[in-house]
Every structure is written in structure tokens, then in C-alpha cells.
């Protein structure tokens, strides 16, 4: 099976279209960023980078958003945001709500906002009391301790590890099979090791709220800006490192072209983030780094071929060499990009809410990263060559250098 054979496209003749496309995509995203940041005074950053509080709550049924909003307003949390999550891929997650709160500098303690939100939830929807804690929020060790104390299986001193295991089974059933929220203790009947007396003990000792706090994030403002700086600088250093390596292996203009292409990719992806209302979080940074690596990989494959062809095709112009190189690697490019695109698309569709923003960045990044290799990086090298003495001063000097021969020899061994 083979898709692309003997393709002969004049890629470099289409540079003006590429430039147009890139400018269009950049403008599209960055106008959206401008509108968000300057016009609407909102930030693109997620909680990781701007600081604030996020509480993820799952309800047993459709979330009573209005009731919740009213409760929050009564508690003086007018500036809180509520966002329902719709996600069909995991059990019960259609009923998730994220409560967000901006970090105010006046809060004397970091988790004041979170505590208030929890109070509102308990006051509005009922919850565990001191005598009968909420089963949906009990931890495995606490549950094990309680079971050991009550001893529903009448094991006495021979209980050993049994109750620990039972508690593990129970919380695992709650978290995995029931999506973190049990509405009736009878739901736990089929869990391994559970007897009616265990159910009775649970029903006596625990209450069941119809919500469960699944996740809470609180980031102080100082940490936010620190994380931001560090992520940016680490990325810049990494780009610098790549530039130097490519400059060493090829020529500095190739390094510069690759880095410019990667910048182009990151800028477009960020624009799309704003366009589709995703927030930039730490996981998204990981996705951007992945896309940097991916785009770089793609660019180097083409450059590598250019370097090789410059040695083989002594008579052709530099532009022809580049065109030929892109055409020769096209089959590989389409295959690899296609497969990677497929992978991240599956992740985007099936990967769940946690990975959504991450996989979105990857889906956009793979497409843009592939395109930028022939649409941005290669033309930069061609244009540079045109204005700086043609191909004689191109790669011929360093191609086939001693270092390269050593590598080839090593491969043969």
C-alpha cells in the first residue's frame, strides 16, 4: 500500500499563499486574544497562572445551578463563577460543576474561599455531620478505622488486614463504579466482602450527601506569577538549546528558521485557545512543549533531506533542492502527521475532561506544526539563500563533514 508517489509540487512557488494563510490564522487568534484581554479585561490564564480557587463538585442528579448560585451570593461570594461540565465519556460527569473564585489579596488564609464554598454547599444541600460523616467524602483510612471499630463482620482480633481491604473495595467502588458519588448504600451490596451487616453499619455511621467534592485547587497569586515566569523561561531556554544544536549540525539560518516556525506554531495555537475559550493551564504548557518538540522534529526531517540533496543535486537551484526534499519526505510527513493527529484526536474525544484542553492544543499543534515545516521554516531558508549568495555558500561546505561520516559509520556497525 502506498499513498504518495512521485509527487512534484512547487512548494516554494506558493510561499505567498503560505504567508497569507499564516497571517490570517495569526490574526484570527490574536484578534480574539485582543478582544478577551484588552476589550473584555479577562485573562487567558487558568487558575495555575493567575491564582484563585477552583472547586469541582459532582452532584447525584442534574446540578441545581440556580440554587447553588443563590447560596453562593448569600454567602457574599458574588464574584464566584459557576460552570457546568458536559462530558459524556465518564460515569455521571454530566452532573459536574466547577465553582471558581478569584483570589483576593485580602484573604488572610489561602483556603478561606474554599472553606466558604464548602460551607455553602453543606448549608444548601445538606451534608455530613460530626456524628454521621458523609460517606461520599470519607477517605479509605478513615473508613477502615471506623469499620475496625464497629467490626460488622465480628472478626474480633483476627480482623488483621480485612477491614483495610474492605474499605479499599468500598471506596474504589464509590470512586470508579459510581463516579465518586453513592446515592444509596444498597448500591454497594455487590462489592467484594460486603455483607448486609456491613451495609447496616455504613448506613448507621454515615450519611449520604447528594454531592461530592472531587477536586479543589487553590493557587496563591505569588505562585501563579512564579509558575508563569518559569514556564516561559524554561521554554525559551529549551528553544535556545535547539537553535544552537541545529546551528551546529546544519547552519545557523536553519536553526533560526526552525525556531521561528515553532514560535509561529505556538502563537497560532495560543490564538486558537482564546478563540475556543480554553484556559492556559500547566497541562496546556506540557501540550505546547509537546507541540514544540513535534514541530521541530518535522522541520528537521525536511532540513536533513535538504542537506543530503544539496550534495547529490549539484546543478539544481537551491529552491529546486528544497522543493524536491519536501516532495521526497511528503509521504513520511503525511503518514506521521496523520497518525499523530489520529492519536491526539482520539485523546481529545475520549480522553475525558481533564485532558480536553491538553488534547485540543495537540490537535491544533500537530496540524500547524506540520504545515509550518514546509510553509514557514523551509521558505525562510530559501529566502535567506536567495539574498545571501546562493547555494555555493549554502550547505555544501558542511554537508558530508567528518562528524557526519562518523555518525554514518557508527550506524553501519
Amino acid at each position: 500500500m502506498e499513498f504518495f508517489r512521485g509527487v512534484n509540487v512547487d512548494w516554494m512557488g506558493k510561499v505567498k499563499y503560505f504567508v497569507g494563510l499564516s497571517l490570517f490564522l495569526l490574526a484570527l487568534g490574536w484578534i480574539s486574544i485582543y478582544r478577551t484581554v484588552v476589550v473584555k479585561h479577562r485573562t487567558l490564564y487558568g487558575i495555575d497562572f493567575r491564582g484563585g480557587t477552583l472547586v469541582y463538585v459532582r452532584f447525584a442528579g442534574p446540578p441545581p445551578i440556580d440554587k447553588l448560585r443563590k447560596g453562593l451570593e448569600q454567602a457574599g461570594l458574588q464574584n464566584s463563577t459557576l460552570q457546568g461540565i458536559s462530558d459524556s465519556s465518564s460515569v455521571g460527569s454530566k452532573n459536574d460543576v466547577v465553582i471558581g473564585l478569584e483570589q483576593s489579596a485580602s484573604d488572610e488564609s489561602l483556603d478561606a474561599g474554599k472553606q466558604k464554598i464548602l460551607e455553602v454547599l453543606q448549608a444548601t444541600f445538606g451534608g455530613g455531620s460530626a456524628s454521621r460523616p458523609d460517606f461520599n467524602s470519607v477517605s479509605t483510612p478513615d473508613l477502615a478505622a471506623e469499620l475496625t471499630r464497629k467490626d460488622p463482620l465480628l472478626l474480633g482480633t483476627s480482623a488483621g488486614d480485612r477491614y483495610n481491604q474492605l474499605a479499599q473495595h468500598l471506596t474504589a467502588a464509590r470512586d470508579s463504579d459510581h463516579g465518586g458519588i453513592v446515592t444509596n448504600f444498597d448500591q454497594l451490596r455487590d462489592v467484594g466482602g460486603v455483607t448486609p451487616s456491613v451495609i447496616n453499619t455504613l448506613a448507621n455511621d454515615y450519611s449520604l450527601s447528594n454531592f461530592a467534592v472531587r477536586d479543589a485547587e487553590i493557587v496563591g497569586p505569588r505562585v501563579g506569577s512564579q509558575l508563569r515566569h518559569q514556564a516561559v523561561w524554561a521554554t525559551l531556554y529549551a528553544l535556545g538549546g535547539m537553535l544552537v544544536y541545529i546551528a551546529f549540525r546544519f547552519e545557523w539560518v536553519y536553526g533560526a528558521a526552525a525556531v521561528i516556525a515553532v514560535f509561529h506554531d505556538v502563537l497560532i495555537t495560543l490564538g486558537f485557545f482564546s478563540l475556543f475559550h480554553y484556559e492556559i493551564s500547566l497541562t496546556v504548557i506540557a501540550a505546547l512543549l509537546t507541540l514544540v518538540g513535534y514541530s521541530m522534529n518535522d522541520t528537521i526531517v525536511i532540513f536533513d533531506r535538504v542537506r543530503e540533496n544539496l550534495r547529490l543535486m549539484k546543478r539544481e537551484s537551491f529552491t529546486e533542492v528544497v522543493n524536491r526534499s519536501i516532495n521526497q519526505t511528503l509521504s513520511r510527513t503525511i503518514l506521521t502527521s496523520g497518525l499523530t493527529f489520529l492519536t491526539v484526536l482520539v485523546l481529545y474525544i475520549m480522553g475525558g475532561e481533564v485532558l480536553r484542553a491538553f488534547s485540543f492544543a495537540m490537535v491544533v499543534g500537530v496540524v500547524v506544526g506540520t504545515y509550518s515545516s514546509f510553509g514557514i521554516a523551509a521558505p525562510i531558508v530559501v529566502v535567506w539563500n536567495k539574498y545571501h549568495g546562493g547555494r555555493q555558500q549554502g550547505m555544501t561546505v558542511r554537508a558530508g563533514s567528518a562528524a557526519e561520516k562518523r555518525v554514518v559509520a557508527a550506524a553501519r556497525r
Partner: protein, 539 residues
């Protein structure tokens, strides 16, 4: 198969076995197999659930405290050496100003500072007559910061271990030199743990000079606005619950220097309070050396009806008249519940924090969310891997199988290596795995496309494979080294999630070079050695 090829396969087999051993160990049952895998593959908090706290140590406090101690000590020495001076004042955390030193004594003042206060540099103060300014040496400041951080880390570690939580991580964050990271796997609500970590735990037994007073001003007024030297005003415990103390805030004048501190404790335990039914107290025992000192003190004070205060974190918990000599035990009361008494006993046993702390970041991942992300992430990854592999086999036929073997081996090596070095798999780490898989597929595609090209150019199978690998090798090395270089920078300059990404990426890419070049080549060679020279390569 020739000897060289045989050795290649032996090496590959050894690597494979070592990797499998690294992941599953030597299980004797299915349950053990599952446990082994769970033990060896370390999941980050974002995947398994738990609490993640970042706290900041208020280092300035420790530096300021050293400055205060120096002011006290210097005052004492100047009196002892009969060096007259106008005033000693702490300017800020690292500077002390001594004004109007007798002109005849400036020489001995300088000698004193230079010989006994070696942490400080001395210089004439600008605009002062016979005034000197002492500055803390930068090396001393650095030492204090370092020691305070180390001590805080140790203390917090002791406290958390005493809480009996499983596999906690307590470490410096590395992103700023005053931050400590605490990770508590499986803890869904960190409120209780946070209290224990944050508690100051500075216990002092101090002589009461005077009090109680209704306000600080009242106490000051009694002494004409200036406290007697070596004393200090401290508030009574604000949340005192006893009915006798409903009279509002109280203040005591106390000796600055305690008789006994928390460091002199041998043990501390919570127990029911005999005085108030249902209440709890903390009983403590003193070390032998402190007990002697304490005995002498209490005997003297009992004779003159003196009083003593139990001070915890600069709050007076109890002030009582000493009735008789007390040897080595004492107690702290004050309306504790069973839990709060136990927590306090724990904090006292673990030792005091050298400076107070402040929380900067708190993330709790509920176990169900962690379970969700693992399940969904793994399901999606396996799903897409299968699709990719099926495609590779359809597109490249037998050679595609070769690529699938290389990819699977790549993943096995990656997982095993992470198990061996104890690296933690986090969500960003999964991003690294995805890039690894992507580049793994790419390496194979590069080689195969190259071989196809050579075949098209009329080369025989063996030669095409040879040239294909050689040419693709260069490209693969260039792409991989570039990415590894960037990952190294990310590791050096990044923190937390960025590092997790970098670690999996580097391991994955090294494995990738091995599988897609060495292993894949070996399989090709084996295949070529068995097939007819003129036969077609299945690619």
C-alpha cells in the same frame, strides 16, 4: 543466522527481560502481580488523588529573631563591660544601631563586637556622633536561611510521619529558596494536616512578673510606659473557653528568657483532664538537665509565692502560682478537645518550627477524579495505539509488524526505566509519552519510506535496507538529539509538571533510538538472512 546477529538478539532479549522484571518483579500469584505493578509504577498526585501543598517559610522572621537576640546579648555585654551608650536600636532585620557610645570606650566597643559578635560587621553610623551600625554578614544571613529551611523541613517531616500518612513527599520546591512542597497521597481533605504542619509548637515555661491586665496599655501604664528590662508583654490565649475567663482579653508581663523551652521536652502526651470532666490536656516530661534547672527554679519561687506561665506560640495558656518544687513534668490545659490535645502533643514531640509558615498553593485531587483521568487517559492511549498499529501493518505489511514490535518494546522500556529510577508518572508525563510514541512512529516511517525509495531506485532488498537505515539514522539522530537537548533545558529550568514531561521524554527517546534502529534493524537482518536473495521485501 550469523553470530553477530545472534548476539544482537541475545542483547535485545536481556533488555526485554530486565524491563519486564522491572515492571512486574517475580510474582507468584495474580494478586501479587497487580500489587507489584502498583508498587513499581509511581503515579503522581494528579493521577491517583491526594493533596498537594506548597508553603512558604517566613525566613525574615528567623533573621529578625537573630537580630533581636543580638540586641539583647549586646546590651548585656555592654553593661557587664561598663561601656556607656545612649541607645541600642534594631534598625531592621539585619541592622543594629548603637548610639552615643562614651568617647573613651569606643575602642573597647569595637573590640567587643569584633571578638564576640563575629556574625556582624561594624561601621561608624552616618550622621551619628560616636554611633556605630552593625550589619549582619551576608554569609550569616545565607546560613540562617539555609538552617531555617533545613530545620523546617525536618520538623514538618517528623510531624507528618507522626500523623501516620502513607508515602508523603516533603521536599524543597526548587523554584524559590523559601518554599517547601508537601504531597499527601490519598488525603482528600488536607485541613487537619495543614493545621498540624502550620502549628508553631514553641513551648516556653516563663516566670510571671505581673498581671493579668485588661490591655497592653494598662500593663505599660503600671510601669510608667517602660517595661522593666528583660520583660515582655504577652496576651492570654484568645480562645480560652473556661467560664472563669469570660472577662475578655488578658495580658501578662513575663520574663523574656524562659526557664524551659520545647527543646527540653522528653515526651508529651494527650490525656483526659482531671480538673474539667470531658476536657483534655497535654502532659509533658522534661529532660534530666532541664528538670534540674526547673526544680531549682520552682523551689525558689514556691518559697516566695511566685507564678509561672505556660506560653505556647507567644500566647499564655495558663498562669498559676507555684505551690511546691516541680521536678520533671508539667501540663498544658485550656479547653482542648481530644483531637486538638493529640495534635498539640504531636507537634510538641516533633519540635517547634524555627519560623512561621504561610500556604501558597493547595491542590486536592479527589480519588474519583484521579481514577477517572487514569481510566480515560489509558483507554484513549490504548485505543489510539491500536489504531496506529493496525494502520502500520496494513500500510507496511510484514515490515509494519516490525514497527509494532519496536513501538511496544519502546513503551515497555519506558515504563520499566521509570519504575527503576522511581520516576513519577503525571499528566504532563503522559504528554511526554505521547510525543515519544509520535516520534517512535515517525522513526519507523522514516526508515520504511527510505527503504521503499531505495527499492524504487532498483536496489536489491538487502542493500535497500542497509542504505535506508543508514540514511534515516542521521535524520533520527538529529531529531532525537534536538528534542533531548530541549528536554534537558526544560528539566534544568522548569519545575514540577514541566520536569515530569522532560523526564519521560528523555527516557522515551533514548528507548526509541534503541528500538527503532537497533531492534528493528536486527529483525530486518534476520528476515533478510532467511529469505531468498531475489525475493521481494514485504514493505
Amino acid at each position: 543466522m550469523n553470530a553477530q546477529l545472534k548476539w544482537k538478539f541475545v542483547l535485545i532479549l536481556i533488555v526485554l527481560l530486565l524491563c519486564i522484571l522491572g515492571v512486574i518483579g517475580l510474582p507468584t500469584s495474580f494478586v501479587q502481580l497487580r500489587n507489584n505493578i502498583a508498587d513499581r509504577i509511581h503515579l503522581g498526585l494528579d493521577l491517583k488523588g491526594g493533596s498537594h501543598l506548597v508553603l512558604q517559610v517566613q525566613l525574615q522572621e528567623a533573621i529578625g529573631q537573630h537580630c533581636d537576640e543580638t540586641v539583647d546579648e549586646l546590651t548585656k555585654q555592654l553593661h557587664a563591660k561598663n561601656i556607656g551608650f545612649g541607645e541600642i536600636r534594631r534598625v531592621d532585620d539585619t541592622h543594629i544601631l548603637v548610639r552615643n557610645i562614651e568617647s573613651t570606650s569606643t575602642g573597647s566597643f569595637r573590640d567587643l563586637v569584633n571578638s564576640q559578635f563575629t556574625d556582624w560587621t561594624i561601621a561608624p553610623a552616618a550622621g551619628e556622633n560616636n554611633g556605630y551600625e552593625l550589619s549582619m554578614k551576608p554569609s550569616v544571613i545565607a546560613d540562617i536561611r539555609q538552617n531555617t529551611m533545613n530545620q523546617t523541613l525536618e520538623t514538618i517531616t517528623r510531624r507528618i510521619n507522626a500523623l501516620g500518612l502513607t508515602e508523603p513527599t516533603i521536599a524543597f520546591t526548587g523554584r524559590s529558596d523559601d518554599e517547601i512542597l508537601v504531597q499527601l497521597p490519598g488525603v482528600g481533605d488536607p485541613t487537619a494536616a495543614k493545621e498540624v504542619i502550620r502549628a508553631g509548637g514553641q513551648l516556653q515555661l516563663v516566670r510571671v512578673v505581673d498581671g493579668p491586665f485588661g490591655s497592653e496599655a494598662e500593663a505599660l501604664a503600671k510601669y510608667g510606659g517602660v517595661l522593666p528590662p528583660g520583660t515582655v508583654i504577652l496576651p492570654g490565649r484568645s480562645e480560652s473557653a473556661g467560664p472563669a475567663q469570660t472577662t475578655g482579653p488578658v495580658y501578662y508581663v513575663l520574663d523574656k528568657v524562659p526557664i524551659v523551652t520545647g527543646q527540653d521536652l522528653r515526651n508529651a502526651d494527650a490525656g483526659p483532664s482531671p480538673d474539667s470532666p470531658g476536657g483534655y490536656e497535654v502532659d509533658f516530661k522534661l529532660s534530666t538537665a532541664a528538670a534540674g534547672r526547673f526544680g531549682t527554679f520552682t523551689e525558689q519561687q514556691a518559697a516566695i509565692g511566685g507564678r509561672m506561665a505556660v506560653v505556647l506560640d507567644r500566647q499564655v495558656y495558663e498562669a498559676a502560682t507555684i505551690k511546691s518544687r516541680i521536678e520533671d513534668s508539667g501540663r498544658i490545659t485550656g479547653g482542648f478537645s481530644e483531637q486538638s490535645a493529640q495534635d498539640l502533643a504531636l507537634v510538641l514531640r516533633a519540635g517547634a518550627l524555627p519560623a512561621s509558615i504561610k500556604y501558597l498553593e493547595e491542590r486536592t485531587v479527589g480519588p474519583s477524579l484521579g481514577a477517572d483521568s487514569i481510566r480515560e487517559g489509558v483507554r484513549a492511549s490504548i485505543g489510539s495505539m491500536i489504531v496506529v498499529m493496525i494502520f502500520l501493518i496494513i500500510y507496511y505489511r510484514l515490515s509494519g509488524v516490525n514497527a509494532v514490535v519496536a513501538l511496544v518494546l519502546n513503551l515497555v522500556i519506558l515504563v520499566a526505566f521509570m519504575a527503576y529510577v522511581g520516576a513519577v508518572l503525571t499528566l504532563p508525563g503522559i504528554a511526554g509519552v505521547i510525543l515519544t510514541i509520535g516520534m517512535g512512529v515517525d522513526s519507523n516511517v522514516l526508515v520504511f519510506e527510505r527503504i521503499r525509495e531505495e527499492l524504487r531506485n532498483g536496489k536489491a532488498a538487502a542493500q535497500a535496507v542497509d542504505t535506508g537505515f543508514d540514511r534515516a539514522f542521521l535524520t533520527i539522530i538529529d531529531t532525537h538529539v534536538t528534542t533531548v537537548v530541549s528536554a534537558i533545558f526544560l528539566f534544568l529550568f522548569g519545575t514540577g509538571p514541566v520536569r515530569g514531561f522532560a523526564v519521560t521524554l528523555v527516557i522515551g527517546l533514548i528507548a526509541n533510538v534503541f528500538t527503532s534502529i537497533y531492534v528493528s534493524r536486527a529483525i530486518f537482518d534476520y528476515h533478510l538472512s532467511r529469505m531468498d536473495r531475489q525475493a521481494q521485501l514485504s514493505i
